[in-house]
Amino acid sequence: MLVLYLANSALDSPVTAWARYDGAGKVRHQAGGDEEPPYATGLAALQDGWRLIQASPLINHNSGDEFRTGYFKYEFFFEKLVSEENDRLE
């Protein structure tokens, strides 16, 4: 799984934060382990074969809460299926 946080709601906007989880169990990605994101934008991840499976909706601002900041707003979940055979080919 690849989770990208973008600078705005457009998939081709820059990556500001990211997380990776390897369900194949080959790599344990650690918090704080990377200094540079794996892709510059969400679109670049699509072009590399990642499939977008979830995107944050745009939510209206609650009255009285318009200026509160908290969690990152533009979260995109991607998946990529790998096989043992492909791993060997690579």
Binding site: T16, A17, A31, G32, G33, R68, T69, G70, Y71, F72
Partner: protein
């Protein structure tokens, strides 16, 4: 008159980025003394044993909590450190809690059959919507090299209202920092800073003493304000500026983005910093580059 208080620029950095860093503020003799006590204490697994890190009831005034006959008490009374603390939370602050984080080398953890993992990103305590703020001192008594897994922290995250480890999914964030510092360095962090421990890939155990302090006085103009000028509060042209602006002016520091800022909420961060600075200054009219004045410009229709 010389002062050990923080300057206006230091405070603007704190308001903007959420921390002040004092490199090697603790002298070698006290670092060595504290380290020797820690190694003696934690080497025999007597957590909080002895007088090195005394068990103190939460809410005890700092001067009573850490007395001058203790190494930690001597450290907290160092004039420069005390001046910085009092610039942020004033005199007679309260010890909320303190703790020693002991991080053995990853090789030692793995040799004992456990996995060496980095700590998830988190904000301490829980949801906190106060206008006042606590500080947390991160004191590193030994030199922290880049392979020792120094604390990871995210500058500018302190004003975000989140709930502890709810942010754990954010594995990496543009602009995240890892503490690398000389021995005796103290970070004074706003309680809201997002942070986490990293993996110690060196062969030395890493120690971090962390103490949280609550204010007992309004946090208004507690720093050395002698360098504060009217220019810091004067509205300036937004575009077509002909005169070179000081990049370190209060207004520019408060409206300097971080690499992780989203395009829209980055502007909200500026606005929240301006409100934070208004409280620190005790001046409800302060603004930086017109961000808040514009939103307050609502002429009355004489109802």
């Amino acid at each position: 008159m010389p002062t050990n208080k923080l300057s206006t620029h230091d405070m603007a950095i704190f308001a903007s980025r959420g921390f002040v860093r004092l490199d090697a503020v603790v002298p070698t003799s006290l670092n060595d003394q504290f380290l020797e006590e820690l190694e003696r204490t934690f080497g025999v697994r007597e957590v909080n044993g002895g007088t090195t890190v005394p068990a103190v009831p939460a809410g005890t005034e700092i001067d009573q909590a850490l007395t001058s006959d203790q190494t930690l008490g001597q450290i907290m009374r160092l004039p420069r450190l005390k001046g910085a603390i009092e610039s942020l939370v004033g005199p007679n602050s309260l010890l909320d809690h303190h703790f020693v984080h002991v991080l053995p080398p990853a090789s030692a953890i793995e040799a004992s059959g456990h996995a060496a993992n980095a700590q998830h990103l988190h904000q301490d305590s829980t949801i906190d919507v106060r206008k006042s703020f606590d500080i947390q001192l991160f004191y590193y008594p030994q030199e922290i090299t880049d392979d020792m897994g120094g604390t990871r922290y995210l500058p500018g995250s302190h004003l975000r209202i989140v709930n502890e480890a709810a942010i754990a999914r954010y594995q990496n964030v543009r602009g995240q920092q890892h503490v690398v510092c000389p021995a005796g360095t103290v970070f004074l962090m706003h309680h809201g800073i997002w942070h986490g421990g990293s993996i110690n890939r060196s062969e030395r155990t890493r120690y971090l003493y962390k103490i949280r302090l609550n204010p007992t006085v309004p946090q208004v103009r507690l720093w050395d304000t002698t360098d504060l000028t009217d220019a810091d509060s004067t509205q300036l042209p937004i575009f077509f500026v002909r005169e070179r602006q000081d990049p370190d002016s209060v207004q520019n520091v408060l409206t300097r983005g971080e690499p992780w800022f989203e395009m829209d909420t980055g502007r909200i961060e500026f606005i929240n910093r301006i409100h934070f600075w208004r409280r620190l200054l005790g001046d409800r009219t302060f603004d930086a580059h017109y961000w808040v004045s514009r939103l307050e410009c609502e002429p009355s229709i004489g109802e």
